[in-house]
């Protein structure tokens, strides 16, 4: 079985040679679009870097069937640790490269403010990702596999976020203290709105009062490679990751390994071989973890270098220089994290569409002050999300796994409901499995582990609920499974 797996690495899923015409055509088309952008203005290279890193992420995500939702979910649902191991590999690699990127002085990461919102957001996100059938990143790669249910999830994540940050539905529910603190920020608030909504009060009255930090900073370690590697990489990423790998091995994989490799003496070397066998058990996943870790680190480096070259802090400045001022925030900025991120740009897509439909979505801090509402054609991180879909489609078609799949009614309803929960969770927790977890724990910010605890909790509850739902449905159909 293992042999057939490895010999299939560069073949289609059915073992035949890869299909190459359509994938090459798709890549050529993407290249032509890139050339058109560059012919309009060479400074669009900044946007294209996002897009092409997206293509690379898409290729690895589909190749490794890399789904962070399943890291948590399949562990609880069916006891499979494959994906959890893959994510942990990616975390270690990304964290090591991040330290070097920071030493090079071009690290684009900003720590997230620490607070209860991360746990709450993570839990909502975890509930949603199991219901929807995938997290924010796997929704994109599955869209590239032709899964139309995933497109529903994508719409749902996008619009639920845009709605949440611009609605005043929950304005009566917020704590008095937030309102009072937010009132003290009235000068800033009045720049975008005269009547702050609940998310504005949450942002100004709560989030702005919190602070975040990296371990290197918090522990007072020197701001050099040694400090970054020790504080950010080792303490925040490597140690928790190794502990989790050990727990996965002891409580999940070891039983199977002992049965398959009977031995009288369970020495340390024997156990380590067992751990290694767990890591390489799914080669595709391990390779994807490695690749994603490397390129996620590289993206920060390349974008950081481009910022230095153009002498900017934010893509909004470049857009303004190029004459595209529509959709910039009042600070002339747009959302431009400089690293892998997913949900905020999707909120912008929906916000832009709602704005075009005549709804007031820019009179809030989230779009009006911080992220802007650029046209999707000028949305650099948005191009990364498009790139993920393209990259996934390229490899799915090449491996003959592409298929237009219509969701059945149950899947469609769950897709929309799960997408809404993920959208709400992402806005409250300040990101998804990528922005709030993957990009933070790899840059010395422990907030990502808190998000993961929330994701695991939400995922666990959601798996229990989903299994109960399936059992109830089976019993109702008098179907003895």
């Amino acid at each position: 079985m293992t042999e057939s797996n490895s010999s299939r690495a560069f073949r289609a899923a059915d073992g035949s040679p890869l299909a190459w015409k359509k994938p090459v055509f798709l890549l050529l088309l993407t290249a032509i679009v890139s050339v058109i952008y560059l012919s309009l203005d060479t400074r669009f290279v900044y946007l294209l870097v996002y897009g092409w890193f997206g293509v690379i992420y898409g290729i690895f995500l589909q190749y490794g069937r890399f789904c962070m939702a399943s890291a948590v979910r399949d562990l609880f649902a069916v006891g499979v640790p494959r994906m959890a191991v893959g994510v942990l590999i990616a975390v270690i690699i990304y964290a090591v490269i991040s330290a070097f990127v920071q030493e090079a002085g071009v690290n684009t990461f900003n720590p997230h403010p620490l607070g209860w919102h991360i746990l709450i957001g993570g839990t909502l996100f975890g509930l949603g990702m199991v219901v929807a059938g995938g997290c924010a990143s796997s929704t994109l790669y599955k869209t590239g596999e032709g899964n139309l249910g995933s497109i529903l999830v994508l719409f749902s994540i996008s619009f639920s976020q845009a709605w949440l940050v611009s609605t005043d539905w929950f304005s009566n529910w917020i704590p008095q203290s937030w309102a009072e603190t937010a009132a003290a920020e009235a000068d800033t608030l009045s720049l975008v709105t005269e009547s702050p909504g609940w998310f504005d009060q949450f942002t100004a009255g709560y989030l702005w009062q919190l602070s975040g930090t990296t371990a290197q900073d918090y522990l007072g370690l020197p701001a050099n490679l040694f400090g970054y590697l020790l504080g950010n990489t080792f303490v925040v990423a490597v140690v928790p990751t190794l502990i989790l790998i050990a727990l996965l091995y002891i409580y999940n994989y070891r039983k199977m390994y002992l049965r398959q490799h009977p031995a009288d003496n369970h020495s340390i070397a024997y156990e380590l071989k067992g751990v290694w066998s767990m890591i390489i058990q799914s080669k595709n996943t391990a390779i994807a973890g490695l690749g994603l870790g490397v390129f996620a680190g590289l993206q920060m480096f390349v974008t950081g270098e481009l910022r230095e070259y153009y002498e900017i802090f934010n893509f909004g400045e470049l857009l303004a220089e190029m004459g595209y001022t529509n959709g910039l925030s009042i600070q002339d900025t747009v959302f431009d994290p400089g690293y892998w991120y997913i949900t905020t740009q999707e909120a912008q897509w929906a916000g832009w569409a709602m704005d075009k439909a005549g709804m007031d979505v820019s009179g809030n801090l989230f779009f009006g002050l911080e992220n802007g509402l650029p046209s999707p054609l000028l949305n650099a991180p948005g191009m990364m999300s498009v790139g993920i879909i393209v990259g996934a489609a390229v490899i799915a078609i090449a491996r003959k796994e592409f298929k237009w799949k219509l969701p059945n009614t149950e899947t469609a309803i769950l897709a929309i409901a799960g997408g809404i929960l993920m959208g709400f969770g992402a806005r409250i927790g300040m990101g998804c499995n990528i922005g709030a977890f993957f990009a933070t724990v790899t840059n010395g910010d422990i907030s990502g582990w808190i998000f993961l605890i929330g994701m695991a909790l939400g995922g666990y509850l959601s798996v229990k609920a989903l299994k109960a739902w399936i059992d109830w449905r089976l019993s109702k159909e008098e179907f003895d499974f």
């Binding site: 079985m1 289609a12 899923a13 059915d14 069937r65 789904c67 939702a69 399943s70 979910r73 399949d74 649902a77 069916v78 006891g79 499979v80 640790p81 494959r82 994906m83 199991v130 059938g133 995938g134 796997s138 599955k142 596999e145 032709g146 899964n147 249910g149 995933s150 199977m256 049965r259 058990q281 799914s282 595709n284 996943t285 799915a396 003959k400 796994e401 592409f402 298929k403 799949k405 219509l406 969701p407 059945n408 009614t409 149950e410 899947t411 798996v463 989903l466 299994k467 399936i470 449905r473 089976l474 159909e477 179907f479 003895d480 499974f481």
Partner: protein, 89 residues
């Protein structure tokens, strides 16, 4: 007799010791949850053919089989639809 759940999940006994589970149009984790249930349901030595079109579920099913010692006799794929034949240990 084939039993269908709202025309979406189909689990049927083809002949003695041979079963089929059709979970096309389902995504994660439904596919692997149904696969696990079906594998529990059938007897030792029985064969089951699982038909699904969500590629990532295959990874989890492969692990489930390895964990239980079930043998994957055949795993074919055609135009995005996967057909796996498994013999329960």
């Amino acid at each position: 007799m084939a039993i269908k759940i709202k025309e979406t999940v189909k689990f049927e006994k083809l002949e003695d010791g041979k079963f089929q589970l059709d979970v096309r149009s389902y995504v994660c984790p439904h596919v692997q949850i149904y696969a696990e249930k079906a594998l529990k349901k059938i007897g030792s030595g029985d064969e089951i053919t699982i038909v699904f079109d969500n590629p990532s579920s295959g990874e989890s099913i492969r692990y489930l089989c390895a964990n239980n010692g079930d043998e994957i006799l055949q795993d074919t794929e055609s135009a995005g639809t996967f057909t796996w034949k498994i013999r329960k240990a």
